[in-house]
């Protein structure tokens, strides 16, 4: 680890380094060039790489996503920025039917080296149409890698690896993490597509990804004060899911709580519960529990919004319940 920077700068650095390294890499999306990115992730890239490689688009998600996929068929390596993953719904046909399925449908002939990235999940008071988590939507589909970084080190190392991959990648950022500070590695380092144990523990495994991982880490501190030693796993790779990291931890702690911002139905938490059933059911001392976003379109009102998303206290209580302490 070399220096402290924000997630925002880590993402910027990852793209800059890869743009410098490979002339086939380009960035395309709404406001990525002259505006420097709606969230300033692409700040300075237009100046350094010019309008041929940092491409502003009209507000045409389906069109520019499909165009980028087409360019990748001929060996270009596009990074597609969605201003919000909510807008990727306009383009989801191109993401799934054109990007994810083509390698298979072509019998392995056509690669689609492309990264779709942008903020996913809740922000602060932006209402239902701008606050949805699409992790389980994309994680459902074969042909994709789905990544959800938390720290600056995740953000930089995973994005660099994503840009170098020859597969289509869904890269789920989080607006509320863009300012998070942390250390990052130098230009050579890529992160492996594996989960990370953020805090070791023995009593219960808590899995989380993206923004709520921070809440899970805070909850673990409170649990520590209560004499509960929780292991917290950063589930930053959602497809192909890192089954080994999950099962190893559960076989040690014998308890599992899955925390997630997205809705509970057909969620990443549902999937983890099933994976544990299939791989290490006999190690469980209590039923797997999930703490997801409440099953409603995310409200605007501050009190209702807070109620809708997993909070630190909710995580503490849910963990205690799994352990039979509540």
């Amino acid at each position: 680890m070399s220096k402290m920077i924000t997630v925002r700068d880590a993402l910027n650095e990852a793209m800059r380094e890869e743009l410098q390294l490979d002339e086939k890499v380009f960035l395309i999306g709404e406001e990525v060039a002259e505006y420097n990115g709606a969230y300033k992730i692409s700040k300075g890239l237009l100046d350094e790489f010019g309008p041929e490689r940092i491409i502003d688009t009209p507000i045409s998600e389906m069109g520019f996503a499909g165009m980028a996929v087409g360019a990748s068929f001929l060996g270009q390596r596009p990074i597609v920025e969605f201003m919000s993953f909510n807008f990727s719904m306009q383009a989801i046909d191109q993401v799934i039917n054109s990007a994810a399925k083509t390698r298979y449908m072509s019998g392995g002939q056509i690669a689609c080296p492309i990264v779709f990235r942008g903020p996913n999940g809740s922000a602060a008071r932006v209402g239902a149409q701008h606050s949805q988590c699409y992790a389980s939507w994309y994680a459902h589909c074969p042909g994709l890698h789905v990544l959800a970084p938390y720290s600056p080190a995740d953000a930089k190392g995973l994005l660099k690896a994503a840009i170098r991959s020859n597969d289509p990648i869904i890269f789920l950022e989080h607006e509320l993490l863009y300012g998070l500070q942390g250390e990052v590695h130098g230009p050579e380092h890529c992160e492996p597509f594996k989960a990370v144990v953020e805090k070791e523990g023995t009593d219960i495994t808590i899995t989380a990804f993206s923004f709520v991982l921070g809440k899970a880490l805070e909850a673990a501190k409170i649990l520590e004060e209560k004499g509960i030693n929780a292991e917290v796993i950063n589930m930053r790779v959602l497809r192909p899911f890192d089954i080994e990291s999950l099962t190893q931890s559960v076989m040690k702690t014998n308890h599992l709580l899955c925390v997630e911002e997205g809705w509970p139905v057909a969620s990443m938490a549902s999937e983890q519960a099933m994976l544990v059933m299939e791989h290490c059911f006999d190690y469980l001392d209590a039923p797997v529990a999930r703490l997801c976003g409440v099953d409603v379109p995310l409200p605007y009102a501050v009190n209702l919004e807070t109620l809708s998303l997993p909070q630190v206290d909710d995580i503490v209580q849910a963990a205690e319940k799994v352990l039979g302490k509540k």
């Binding site: 086939k24 380009f26 041929e52 491409i55 688009t57 009209p58 045409s60 389906m62 069109g63 520019f64 996503a65 499909g66 165009m67 980028a68 996929v69 087409g70 360019a71 990748s72 068929f73 001929l74 060996g75 270009q76 046909d93 191109q94 039917n97 054109s98 083509t102 390698r103 298979y104 449908m105 072509s106 019998g107 392995g108 002939q109 056509i110 690669a111 074969p142 042909g143 994709l144 890698h145 690896a161 991959s165 020859n166 597969d167 492996p192 597509f193 192909p240």
Partner: protein, 323 residues
């Protein structure tokens, strides 16, 4: 004379091959060898055959699910295509794609896409890549009149214009979006005029006359290549058969169908070649026999080919399966 003997014979042979191949595919469907969706190109042959005369090495071609003819025009083999239709191991996609999903990087063919209109942004992206790679090549992007009702087509036009992309859009207007006649899906009659809203030059042509198609596309492809700008052509054509093999096409009036059959592209070019001394009747008959033989050979090959190995079920999903 606007066409030399060699070119005329080549185009006639190709149209015949497509016609006979599609007839064989229909027979194979009836025989139970081909299942699912199978969209035939019978009647439309002049469009892709005339257009492909302007194809140069390094160009890219992309189309919808009605794609067998485009692959044959790209010189992909009848055997490889038929084997894919049969779901066999020697198919272009090892049997994993089927009628609508075949590709050949070697021949410049990028599918074979089953979502109506989705190939238009993809083809525009092929053009973007060609531009970025500073190639002297263009992207032939085919779609039907039905696709003209999809919004992403116009998102593509807008960006092709904005970014000066070397893409040749070819609308194959066969008069029907599946079973919906053009007059019932498009209020405006001239689809090619829609390009003007995006400052893209365009024209309409008789898509039943391969000589006309060849001439018009040669000119427009040269425009795209030299000016590095998009161009759109609307080919007015017709399919003598239903939307897919399972569609009897009862919505197509008999007189209308007959009118187009009387104007058949293969018959028309044959007559032209006879009248202008480019081929004798015997030669034309021999060409058709060759086409029939190729189609039959493809059928027999596909029938005798093995099913894809079950070990292939979980391959070709991603390169980095275990990152």
């Amino acid at each position: 004379m606007i066409v030399d003997k060699k070119t005329a014979q080549k185009m006639l042979a190709k149209m015949m091959l497509i016609r006979r191949f599609e007839e064989r595919a229909a027979a194979a469907y009836r025989d139970g060898h081909i299942c699912g969706f199978c969209h035939l190109y019978i009647g439309q042959e002049a469009v892709v055959v005339g257009a492909q005369e302007s194809f140069k090495s390094g160009d890219a071609v992309i189309t919808s699910y009605r794609d067998h003819a485009h692959m044959l025009s790209c010189d992909m083999t009848p055997r490889g295509i038929m084997a894919e239709l049969f779901g066999k191991k020697s198919g272009y996609s090892k049997g994993k794609g089927g009628s609508m999903h075949m590709f050949s990087i070697e021949r410049g063919f990028f599918g074979g896409h089953g979502i109506v209109g989705a190939q238009v942004p993809l083809g525009t992206g092929l053009a973007l890549a060609l531009k970025m790679q500073k190639k002297d090549n263009i992207a032939f992007t085919y779609f039907g009149d039905g696709a003209c009702a999809q919004g992403q087509v116009y998102e593509s036009f807008n960006m092709a214009n904005l970014y000066d992309l070397p893409v040749l859009y070819i609308i194959e207007n066969n008069g029907y979006a599946m079973g919906t006649a053009a007059r019932r899906h498009s209020g405006d009659k001239a689809l090619y005029e829609r390009a003007h809203a995006f400052d893209i030059e365009s024209c309409q042509m008789d898509g039943m006359d391969v000589l006309k198609v060849q001439e018009v596309i040669a000119e427009s492809a040269e425009y795209v290549r030299s000016k590095k700008r998009p161009f759109l052509i609307e080919a007015q054509t017709y399919r003598y058969v239903g939307h897919s093999v399972s569609d009897p096409g009862n919505y197509m009036p008999k007189e209308e169908k007959q009118q187009y059959k009387d104007n058949d592209p293969i018959g028309k070019l044959s007559s032209y070649m006879l009248e202008n001394g480019l081929s004798s009747e015997e030669e034309i008959k021999a060409m058709d026999n060759d086409a029939k033989a190729s189609a039959k050979d493809a059928y027999v090959f596909a029938e005798n080919d093995d099913l894809v190995s079950e070990d292939e079920l979980m391959t070709d999903i991603m390169e980095d399966q275990n990152v």
